[in-house]
Amino acid sequence: MSSHAATATIDHHHDPTTSTGIPNKKLLMWTFLASDCMFFGALISTHLIYRLHPPAGGLDPKQIFSVELTSFSTFVLLMSSLMMALAVTAIQKGNLKSCRWSLLTTIFFGMIFLGCQVYEFEHFVHEKNMTLSNSLLGSTFYTLTGTHGCHVAIGVLWLSLMYVRSFKVASRPSWLNHQLLHALTFIVVLLLSLKVTLGLVHSLQTVPTFGAAISDFFSHQGIYIGGFLLALWGLFWFARPRGTVQFNESNAIDVESMGLYWHFVDIVWIVIFTAVYLLEYL
């Protein structure tokens, strides 16, 4: 890591070496986000058009949606945006430890959001009988929120890879294999944590007593819990200090570009939360 003195001379918002004065990676990301606005604009409009002209006998969203769960998801995504902003600030100041913790917290919140969405979709399909193809509401709702969920999943993957990247050691010749295994372990931890958490929720909802639910959870999810703990140990092993890392203030633009993407996912959800969910309750 570099010193604070070096940080004071770095301007992370402007780059005089480019013709625009904007770092190229940042310009690329803003261009992509502008195009993604149009993509989501089309999906949101499609949903709203069909909601304004609902077919006779169609499903009633008020009987299907859960404003409590969606509000919780919204709050979680807002907090993930805060942690992402703090991660960018931390790496701009050369504070690698703080940046890593902020990235991990952002990933944690992102996974909670994804878990809520998986739970919501599963609930809608199995309990409310709303599938992608059996109703107009289902088609537009799953297409829109599913596309947003894919964006969140890509964001979580990108965050995970950036976190793993922050452990790259300059002196090791086999760093690529090491980083790939580290990334693979991280992804396994994320997937197993999602599986185990949803399994716990399922047991608590389907089994009447708490004790029996916990017993049911361990009997069904035991192998996944074991795998999760093993992969978690692997993560700690990969994160052990191995020398001077090649990740400092000069990587701030990479973290910032990723942050722009993550915040964009958040602003899209701000619109979806109002347009798709809240307006149905009027």
Partner: protein
């Protein structure tokens, strides 16, 4: 990564940038709290017995406020060159215009599907 990504600034702007960096933590936390409160208000007002147009207007305004706070503070547009803002708003205006046009077209009587 290359040194291209982190440009060296002039002493004056470096001092300003350094001062802004110090305050960012507090700004971000305050904005996050504000966004959480606005979200709470949004959820509450849909249950108020007000006229529909008032509630819809309030929801739109509050969403726009949240949107602007995120893009100008969390996404750093406030501190970046104006070209980034212009670039993003080009996409945003085209998306908004398309949405408005589609909603207007499909509200027109002539475009409604015929009854089966």
């Amino acid at each position: 990564m290359s040194a291209h990504s982190a440009a060296v600034s002039s002493p004056g702007s470096g001092h300003d940038a350094g001062h802004a960096e110090e305050n960012k933590f507090q700004i971000y936390v305050q904005i996050a709290m504000l966004l959480a409160v606005i979200t709470g208000v949004e959820i509450a007002i849909v249950y108020f017995p007000w006229a529909k147009w008032i509630v819809v207007s309030l929801l739109v305004v509050l969403s726009v406020v949240k949107f602007m706070f995120v893009i100008f503070y969390f996404m750093h547009l406030r501190w970046d060159k104006p070209f980034c803002t212009i670039l993003f708003f080009i996409g945003l205006i085209i998306a908004g215009g398309t949405a408005w046009a589609l909603l207007a077209l499909f509200t027109a009587e002539a475009s409604l599907p015929l009854p089966v």
